[in-house]
C-alpha cells in the first residue's frame, strides 16, 4: 500500500497514455467509417446509382376492412363508416402556431386538445402527419375544402371507422375497438398490424380480433424522377375481415335491457337445445362509440367511478351466490343418489338443527311449511327440506354433482374476460382458507349460500343443461355448425328430470308457488327464485328488512326460468342487483323476456290449460313470500 499519496505526475502520465490510446482508437474507427462510405459511394457507386434510378416504385399498405357484426336475423350491429380526420405534417407548415389558431375557425379545439397536440409535436417525427381532429362533421369538411389554400401542409384524410348501432344494449357483449397500444402492438405480427391500427379491446371485438381484422394488402405506386405519380397498382389485395353472425336476437336483446327498468344487473337468455345465446345484457351499459376516437379523461372518469359500475360486465364477471336457485340441482342430486324419491315427504317445523348442535337454520316462513314433498319444497322453497338433503348428500357428493353443470368453472363462452367463480368443496377450502370443512357449511350449501361465487353465464349454462334434461350444449355467441353431443358424466332417470321440472313448474303455476305472480296462461313456464346475500352490512342492519335498508345493502334478486316446459326453447337467468326479492324484482323481468320471445316466435299462443289444471288450477293468494 505504498500508493496512499497522490502522485500528480504519475497520474497525469497515466491519463496522457490513455488519451493517446483514445486518439488512436478514434482515428482508426474514423478510418473504418470513411472506408465504409468510400466503399458505398465510390466503389459501389454504379450499382447504387442504378438502384436509385429504378427506385421509382413505392410500396404502401392497403388497410383491410374490419368484419361486420350481424344479429341472428342478419340485422347489422357493428358497421364501418367513412370518417374524415384533419391532420397536418409539421415540416410542411410555416408558422404552425398561428395556423393552429386560425384553423379553430373551422374546427373548434378545447385548451386540453390544443395542449395535447403541442405536446405530441415534440415527439412526433416532423414528416409524419399528426391528427388534429379524428372525426369531422360534413360541414367542417366542406369549410376546409374552401379554405384549403390557406393551410398548406394540412389535409383531410378519409378512413373507415367502427360504429356501434346499439351501443348501450351491446356495450359489454360487442365491446369496442380503440387504437392499438404499444404492448398489444409488440405481441402482434407486424405484417398484419400497423402501429396506428384499431384493435379489439373488449367483448366480441377482442375475442374475434384476428378474424375481424383481416390481412392488409400492398399498393405499388410508380413515380418519375420529378416525383410525379405515373401509375398505381394493387400488388396484393387486402383480405377483409370476416363478418360475424351472432346468435343474439337484436329485438330480444333490447327487450331484455328494457325489462330491467330502473334496476341494474344482468340477464342471459339461451336456447337450451343448442346452446345459442339469444340475449345477454349487463346493465347499465354505456356508449361504446365514444371509445373509438379516444375517450376524454372526464368522460372516462365519470364512467369508471360511477357507483353503478357501467364498465363492469356483470354477465360474465359478476360473482353471486346462487341462493335458492341451486335447489333444483340439489333435488336432482338427492334423487340421483337415491336419498329421496319423488314421493318422499318430510315435516318442516320452521328450522333445522344438526345433531348435538344448538344453532338453528331457519325456514323463510315462520313455523315452517308442514308436511312437504320434493315438488312442494321447490314450489314453496322450503329451506329445511334442502338443509336436510344437503347434509344427507354431504359436501363431496354435492361438489361432484354440481361440477359437471359448470358451476365454478369457465364456460368457455366466446367473449373475453370471463371469471371462474367458486364452487365450494373441501379441497377448495383447504387450499384457499387453509381450514377444514365444517358440517354447518354443508347445511347452507343446500340453499346456495356460503362460499359460492357463480357468474350469470355459469347459471345460464347449468340451466340450459337442466332444461334440456342433461344435454350439454356449450353456450356461444357466434353461430357455429358443430353440434355438441356431450352429456353429463352420470345418467339421470327421465322420471327424476320430470319431478324437478314439475317442482319448478309449480313455483310459477301452483297456488302455493312462490312466483305465482308471473304465471302465464299462454304457455307453461318453469322457474326458481333465489336471493344472493350482500355482505358488508353493519350489525344492526342485519336484522332489518330489505325494504328498510339503503339500496346498496339490499340482497341481489335472482330468477331462473325456462319455457315451454315440455320442449324448452328459451332458458333465462336474471340477476337484479339489490333487488331484494327474487320473486318480486327478478321474476317479472324473466317473464317479460320469455313473453317477448314467445310472442315474436309464435303468433298464436299455445293452449296449455290442461297442463295448468293438472297442477291445481289458478290460486289467488295475497301473502307473498319475502324471502326464499
Amino acid at each position: 500500500m505504498g500508493k496512499q499519496l497522490k502522485q500528480p505526475f504519475h497520474e497525469k502520465r497515466i491519463f496522457t497514455e490513455r488519451i493517446i490510446v483514445a486518439v488512436i482508437i478514434v482515428s482508426l474507427i474514423f478510418l473504418l467509417l470513411l472506408s465504409r462510405y468510400f466503399y458505398l459511394q465510390v466503389i459501389q457507386h454504379q450499382t447504387y446509382s442504378e438502384q436509385a434510378e429504378q427506385n421509382k416504385i413505392k410500396f404502401s399498405r392497403i388497410d383491410p376492412t374490419r368484419g361486420l357484426v350481424y344479429d341472428r336475423n342478419g340485422v347489422l350491429l357493428a358497421e364501418n363508416i367513412t370518417t374524415y380526420k384533419l391532420q397536418f405534417t409539421a415540416e410542411k407548415v410555416k408558422d404552425l402556431d398561428q395556423k393552429l389558431v386560425d384553423i379553430q375557425s373551422i374546427v373548434s379545439m378545447t385548451k386540453e386538445e390544443l395542449l395535447r397536440i403541442k405536446e405530441q409535436l415534440k415527439y412526433n417525427p416532423v414528416f409524419k402527419p399528426l391528427t388534429i381532429k379524428a372525426k369531422l362533421s360534413e360541414q367542417q369538411v366542406a369549410e376546409f375544402a374552401v379554405q384549403k389554400h390557406h393551410y398548406p401542409g394540412f389535409n383531410i384524410e378519409p378512413y373507415l371507422n367502427r360504429k356501434y348501432l346499439h351501443p348501450i344494449e351491446f356495450s359489454h357483449l360487442l365491446g369496442y375497438v380503440g387504437k392499438i397500444n404499444q404492448a398489444e402492438f409488440d405481441r402482434q405480427d407486424h405484417e398484419i398490424y400497423a402501429n396506428d391500427d384499431y384493435f379489439g379491446k373488449t367483448g366480441i371485438e377482442k375475442y374475434y380480433e384476428k378474424q375481424l381484422h383481416g390481412i392488409p394488402g400492398q399498393l405499388v405506386t410508380e413515380i418519375n424522377a420529378q416525383g410525379k405519380q405515373l401509375s398505381q397498382q394493387i400488388k396484393k389485395p387486402p383480405i377483409n375481415g370476416v363478418n360475424l353472425n351472432l346468435t343474439i336476437d337484436l329485438q330480444l336483446q333490447k327487450a331484455s335491457y328494457k325489462a330491467f327498468g330502473e334496476e341494474t344487473g344482468a340477464a342471459i337468455a339461451v336456447n337450451p337445445q343448442n346452446g345459442e345465446i339469444l340475449a345477454m345484457i349487463s346493465k347499465p351499459g354505456y356508449d361504446t362509440n365514444q371509445f373509438i376516437y379516444g375517450i376524454s379523461q372526464n368522460n372516462y372518469d365519470a364512467l369508471s367511478t360511477s357507483s353503478e359500475k357501467p364498465l363492469f360486465d356483470r354477465s360474465i364477471k359478476g360473482g353471486y351466490e346462487p341462493g335458492s336457485t341451486i335447489k333444483p340441482y340439489i333435488a336432482l342430486a338427492g334423487l340421483y343418489h337415491q336419498l329421496i324419491t319423488p314421493e318422499f315427504t318430510m315435516f318442516s317445523n320452521g328450522y333445522y338443527q344438526l345433531p348435538k348442535q344448538k344453532r338453528r337454520y331457519h325456514d323463510w316462513k315462520q313455523g315452517g311449511h308442514g308436511h312437504v314433498n320434493l315438488v312442494n319444497s321447490l314450489a314453496e322453497s322450503v329451506n329445511v327440506f334442502f338443509y336436510d338433503l344437503a347434509v344427507k348428500l354431504g359436501i363431496d357428493n354435492i361438489h361432484a354433482f354440481l361440477n359437471p353443470f359448470n358451476f365454478g368453472r369457465l364456460t368457455g363462452i366466446d367473449i373475453s374476460g370471463e371469471k371462474q367463480g367458486i364452487l365450494p368443496s373441501r379441497a377448495w377450502k383447504k387450499a384457499n382458507r387453509d381450514m377444514i370443512w365444517f358440517p354447518g357449511e354443508t347445511v347452507i350449501t343446500g340453499i346456495g349460500q356460503g362460499y359460492f361465487v357463480i357468474t350469470p353465464v355459469q347459471m345460464a349454462q347449468a340451466l340450459s343443461i337442466l332444461a334440456s334434461k342433461g344435454k350439454i350444449n356449450p353456450l356461444h355467441l357466434v353461430q357455429q355448425d358443430k353440434p355438441s353431443n356431450n352429456t353429463l358424466p352420470f345418467e339421470i332417470k327421465a322420471a327424476h328430470w320430470e319431478t324437478v321440472h314439475e317442482g319448478m313448474t309449480s313455483v310459477i303455476n301452483a297456488p302455493n308457488g312462490t312466483a305465482r305472480a308471473i304465471k302465464s296462461t299462454d304457455y307453461l313456464i318453469a322457474g326458481k327464485s333465489g336471493t344472493s346475500q350482500v355482505y358488508g352490512k353493519s350489525e344492526e342492519d342485519i336484522y332489518k328488512k330489505n325494504d328498510e335498508l339503503p339500496k346498496h345493502l339490499r340482497n341481489h334478486a335472482l330468477f331462473i326460468a325456462f319455457a315451454p316446459v315440455e320442449q324448452p326453447e328459451i332458458a333465462v337467468v336474471v340477476v337484479a342487483e339489490h333487488g331484494a326479492s327474487g320473486t318480486k324484482a327478478a321474476a317479472p323481468i324473466a317473464r317479460e323476456i320469455i313473453d317477448f320471445y314467445m310472442q315474436s316466435t309464435y303468433s298464436e299462443p299455445k293452449a296449455l290449460d290442461e297442463a295448468i289444471t293438472q297442477l291445481g288450477g289458478t290460486g289467488q293468494y295475497n301473502n307473498e313470500p319475502d324471502n326464499e
Partner: protein, 358 residues
C-alpha cells in the same frame, strides 16, 4: 458580477469548428426538411450556444462541488418517470414517451461527472473499492433507463460511465477480462431483450427479410449514400431524399441526405470536422489541471464520438438500428441542448485551466 460572467471566451478554436459543423448541419437540414425546420432548429441551437457561453463562465470547481446533487437529482427524476410512467401507460403514449426522454439525457452528463467525482481524490488507477462504487453508480442509472424501456440510451449511458473508468487508467488485463466476460454472457443478455429489440438485431443481420419496415429503411439509406458518388447529386436535388424514399430524413437519417447530395466529399468534410473537434477536446482534457476535469472532459468527448460512430454505422448498414441522432446535425431539441451543455463544460475547463498558476 458582470466581470465574472463575461470574462471567459470559449476556446475559439473549438468554437469555430462547432459553428462550422452547425452551419453545415443547417444547410443539410434545409434540404431534408425545409426552412420551417431550419428556423426551429436555429432557435434551439441559439439557446444551446447561450448555455454553452454561460457555462464557460462557471469554474469547474463548482461542477465538482455540485456533482453528487446533480447525480442524485437525475436519479430521482428517473425514478419519478418510472412511477409516473407506469400510471399513465396505455392511456396516452406521448406523455409516457415525453417524460421518459429528458432525465435519461441528463444522465449522459451527470453519470460521467459522478464517476469522475468518485475518483477525484483517490490515487489512480482506482482500487477495487472505488470500482465497486463506480459500478453501483452506473448500474442505478442504466437499470432505471433500461426499465423505461430504452435500450439504446441505457447502453450509451453505461458507456459514458465506463469511459471514465477507462481514462482513470484501469489495467488492460482488467479491460480484456471484462470484455471476454461480456462476450460470453451475450446469449444471456439476449434473453433480457424485448421482442422488438431482438427483431431489430435480427433484421440488422438480414435486412432483406424485412423489406417493408426497418430493413427497408436501411436499404433505402444505402441506396441514398451509394448513389451520391464522390461529388454528390447537389444540394436539394437528391432523389432519394426529395421523393421521400429515405425515411426520417431530417432526424436519424440526415447523414444519408448529406451523403446523397454532397457525396463522399461532403462526408469527408463532415468527418474531418468531427475528428478535429474530438482531437481538440481530448487535448483540452489532457491539459486540464486535475483528475476530475480530465476525466469529465475525456468521457464527454468520447461519448460524442460514440454517437457519431453509431449513427454513421447504423445508416450505412454496419451497425443495428438503435435510433441515435447524428450529433449537432440531426433535427431535434433535446440532443442539441445536451451536447452543447457538454461542450460548455469542456470550454469551461479550458478557460479555467491556468487559474491555479495565477
Amino acid at each position: 458580477m458582470n466581470r465574472r460572467f463575461f470574462t471567459y471566451v470559449p476556446d475559439p478554436f473549438l468554437m469555430v469548428l462547432l459553428l462550422l459543423l452547425i452551419a453545415f448541419g443547417l444547410v443539410v437540414l434545409y434540404s431534408a426538411g425545409g426552412m420551417v425546420l431550419v428556423e426551429r432548429q436555429a432557435v434551439r441551437i441559439g439557446l444551446g450556444l447561450t448555455s454553452l457561453y454561460f457555462i464557460t463562465q462557471i469554474r469547474p470547481e463548482r461542477f465538482e462541488q455540485f456533482t453528487p446533487f446533480i447525480y442524485i437529482g437525475s436519479v430521482m427524476l428517473l425514478i419519478a418517470v418510472f412511477f409516473f410512467g407506469i400510471s399513465v401507460k396505455g392511456a396516452q403514449r406521448w406523455l409516457d414517451l415525453g417524460i421518459s426522454i429528458q432525465p435519461s439525457e441528463l444522465c449522459k452528463i451527470s453519470l460521467p461527472m459522478m464517476v469522475a467525482w468518485l475518483f477525484r481524490h483517490t490515487t489512480l488507477p482506482p482500487n477495487w473499492k472505488y470500482l465497486m462504487a463506480a459500478a453501483a453508480v452506473i448500474g442505478i442509472c442504466t437499470g432505471l433507463i433500461y426499465k423505461q424501456p430504452d435500450l439504446g440510451t441505457s447502453i450509451l449511458v453505461t458507456a459514458s460511465g465506463l469511459f471514465v473508468i477507462f481514462l482513470a487508467g484501469i489495467s488492460w488485463r482488467f479491460i480484456l477480462g471484462s470484455s471476454i466476460l461480456v462476450a460470453l454472457s451475450a446469449p444471456l443478455l439476449w434473453h433480457f431483450l424485448h421482442e422488438y429489440q431482438k427483431q431489430r438485431v435480427l433484421m440488422f443481420l438480414n435486412p432483406e427479410a424485412d423489406p417493408l419496415n426497418y430493413g427497408w429503411n436501411i436499404i433505402q439509406s444505402k441506396i441514398a449514400i451509394g448513389s451520391g458518388g464522390f461529388w454528390g447529386k447537389g444540394w436539394t436535388t437528391g432523389s432519394q431524399t426529395q421523393l421521400d424514399f429515405l425515411p426520417e430524413h431530417s432526424t436519424d437519417f440526415i447523414l444519408s441526405v448529406l451523403s446523397e447530395e454532397f457525396g463522399f466529399f461532403g462526408v469527408l468534410i463532415l468527418f474531418s470536422l468531427y475528428f478535429m473537434i474530438i482531437m481538440r477536446c481530448l487535448f483540452i482534457a489532457q491539459q486540464a489541471k486535475n483528475t476530475y476535469n480530465r476525466l469529465v472532459c475525456g468521457a464527454l468527448t468520447l461519448i460524442f464520438f460514440v454517437y457519431i460512430t453509431i449513427n454513421a454505422g447504423m445508416i450505412s448498414g454496419v451497425l443495428p438500428v438503435v435510433g441515435v441522432p447524428l450529433p449537432l446535425v440531426s433535427y431535434g431539441g433535446t440532443s442539441v441542448l445536451t451536447l452543447l451543455v457538454s461542450f460548455g463544460i469542456i470550454t469551461s475547463v479550458h478557460s479555467h485551466k491556468k487559474l491555479i498558476q495565477q
